[in-house]
């Protein structure tokens, strides 16, 4: 007997729990990858800042880990009520995989705590500690790809799914694309979260030395976030191509029909990420002696990025879906791009615009590198607006991730498993962009509150006690 969850409704309740779980999971999976890299860099270069960055980020990961599990539990609990039949069906279908997932989660937890709590004990045997970190990442990645298999199966089950083997169900048509996109996306997400943490610590620090470190840490977090963001659209394209090859009607739904305006918003969001990251670089380069000489080419580069953004988000038509008709007093000629500018609404123009934005961002990095070679940087001496940019970026990144998750789920339309298992609940329909935006905004704020609470506990309260001690 189906049950409903009052006020929110079953779908929205499950959506909020799942998205919160995924936000934390993205962080605890993405951050350890560059934590280990930072630890290795610290070993190789002798720069103590890398070691500190790795350690402080790992402290946040260790705290966030339990919340990840908590949200995962809440997600599973909510599924058991209104979606009991479907949950049973999926568990039955993927039972060996879900069993392996459970074992690996335990192993990952043990490795995570071993890696974190052995930091001091293995300070003399760094190689062993790094090996633990690498193992943690391998298991973490395996956990991610196992669960991605289920999510990907729901959208692209293999042909003749009833007779498919477990491996055919796992290696379904969009599994690779989803793995690639999530792996890189987690790194971007982790980088921006580190930047958020660093900016918070920078703005609340009272000592110059601390500010110098957190300034550098914020720069590094942004570097990781933007560096991986440069390749994320390519991974997204591969994923979208897989969906197109599987069923071209999904692409129509995404790009021209009911979800087209969701992608409009996505274009705005990713453009904001690029512009925000470049704005941070703009403020950052100005505190390097001689950095002012790059102001003019950077201003031109920004003009190129804004033009690229304008092309990227130009809609073909101002109608919400393929079946909508112009409202009273409106004509299709007013709402659609004119004939000679129609190319602005095509994928080719969008792809070129995104490529231009990516290349111009890369150019900014080159300017920065050149400025560093010839000038001197004073860490800790930066316009606080740069730190606000580092807070703005994770807010946009978290929201973008939430929106993209919703798009992926809604692409199944009124199916739990596309074309195989129908969603027979009252929540089978694609909600409006406004509603999706509202829920995404709420979840983004909830995530910030939970992360803020962890920061506060781990660094403000515990940090104050350590200083007193």
């Amino acid at each position: 007997m189906p049950v409903d969850i009052p006020i929110l409704g079953s779908r929205t309740a499950v959506w909020i729990a799942a998205q919160l779980h995924l936000f934390f999971a993205a962080f605890v999976l993405g951050a350890p990858i560059f934590i280990v890299v930072a630890e290795i860099l610290g070993m190789r270069t002798g720069d103590a800042r890398y070691e500190r960055l790795a350690r402080e980020t790992m402290k946040v990961v260790a705290m966030a880990y339990s919340v990840t599990a908590l949200m995962g539990g809440l997600f599973a609990f909510l599924l058991m009520g209104p979606y009991a039949d479907f949950s049973g069906y999926i568990v039955g279908l993927f039972f060996p995989l879900i069993s392996a997932y459970a074992v690996l989660i335990v192993l990952e937890t043990l490795l995570m705590y071993a890696y974190w709590y052995s930091w001091d004990a293995l300070s003399g045997r760094k190689g062993l500690h790094v090996a633990l970190g690498i193992l943690l990442n391998l298991v973490g990645t395996l956990v991610m790809v196992l669960m991605n298999a289920v999510a990907a199966y729901m959208l692209t089950p293999p042909e003749a799914a009833e007779q498919a083997s477990l491996w055919q169900m796992v290696n379904n048509p969009s599994w690779t694309g989803l793995n690639l996109h999530r792996f890189i996306g987690n790194l971007t997400f982790g980088g921006f979260m580190v930047a958020l943490f660093a900016a918070t610590m920078f703005l609340t620090s009272q000592q110059e030395g601390e500010r110098a470190f957190y300034d550098w840490m914020g720069f590094t977090g942004n570097f990781i976030g933007v560096g991986t963001l440069l390749v994320l659209p390519v991974a997204g394209y591969i994923y979208a191509k897989e969906l197109f090859l599987y069923d071209a009607s999904i692409s129509t739904l995404l790009m021209a029909d009911k979800l087209a305006w969701f992608f409009e918003l996505q274009g705005v969001l990713v453009s904001l990420l690029f512009l925000g990251a470049n704005y941070y670089m703009w403020l950052s380069i100005r505190r390097i002696s001689g950095g002012e000489r790059f102001a003019r080419p950077m201003r031109l580069s920004f003009a190129g990025m804004l033009a690229g953004t304008a092309i990227w988000i130009t809609p073909q038509v101002f109608l919400p879906d393929l079946t909508s008709q112009p409202g009273a007093g409106l004509s299709i000629t007013e709402l659609a791009l004119p004939e000679r500018l129609a190319f602005l609404g095509l994928m080719m123009a969008k792809a070129l615009a995104v490529t231009a934005i990516i290349l111009l961002t890369f150019l900014t990095f080159l300017f920065y590198r050149r400025a560093l070679r010839t000038g001197r940087i004073t860490w800790g001496q930066i316009d606080p607006r740069a730190q606000y940019a580092l807070i703005f970026l994770p807010a946009v990144a978290v929201y973008t991730m939430g929106l993209m998750g919703a798009i992926r789920e809604l692409a199944r339309q009124d199916f739990h498993v596309y074309q195989l298992v129908r969603d027979l609940t009252p929540y089978w329909y694609i909600p409006s962009l406004g509603y999706v935006s509202l829920i995404t905004g709420v979840v983004t704020l909830l995530f910030f509150l939970l992360m803020g609470f962890l920061f506060w506990l781990g660094f403000m309260v515990a940090g104050a006690k350590e200083r007193q001690g």
Binding site: M1, P2, D85, T200, L203, T204, W261, L265, L275, Y279, L283, R286, R287, S289, F302, L306, T309, A310, I313, P315, F318, P320, S324, E334, L335, A336, L337, P338, E339, R340, L341, Q381, I382, D383, P384, R385, Y388, I391, F392, P394, A395, V396, Y399, L424, P426, W428, Y429, P431, S432, L433, G434, Y435, V436, S437, T440, G441, T444, L445, F448, G452
Partner: protein, 216 residues
Amino acid sequence: MSSHTSSRGASLPRARWLRTVAAVALVLLIFWGAPALAPEESGWHLGWPFRLFYSGLAIAGGLFYLLLDAPPARFPASRGMAMLRIVSVYALTVGGLTLLPLAFPRFGTPTTEEVLAQASPEARGRTLFNDSRVGCVLCHAVEGVGGTRGPDLSGIGGRAPQRVPGLPAGEYLRQSIVDPGAYLVEGYPAIMPAGFDRLLTPEQLADLVAYLESLR
């Protein structure tokens, strides 16, 4: 050289500010002046929604350039002030992003009822069928989902025309809902309650019948 110790009082270079405003004004002039020069048949004529859209982008771009040249911000005076600013930047960003799609009137949040009003009768009927307040799904299963106390209704749309000779499928289904005892299915007791014609409006009843007829 910018630094957090720089004075907030340092004003934005006037020449740059004027240049940015002039550039935005020029873009707006082109978008709103050019249509007069480009008639619809030319293939270049942008409709007003596009002009509005690009004007918004031009203004946003201008604001971005003004931000580039804005004087450095002041470092927060206290830890509390810093936290307030951090929370404000995050909350305002998320709030702005949330409101952005709501700003389009056609993309506002419709209620479930509004969504259903635009759906097909079959889709509305399916929602009613699965709504636990109506209760059909509690006793009847469709495609493996639902209760087992009543007959399985998978494919009922195909079977209904043969159930009572001379009675159209839609009428048979409607009667079976409003008068459950009229046509019993062998092997199932008469436990279905009456009163669905009072619980549902005539339109809802028609939607429910349309959904059941669509099950083939």
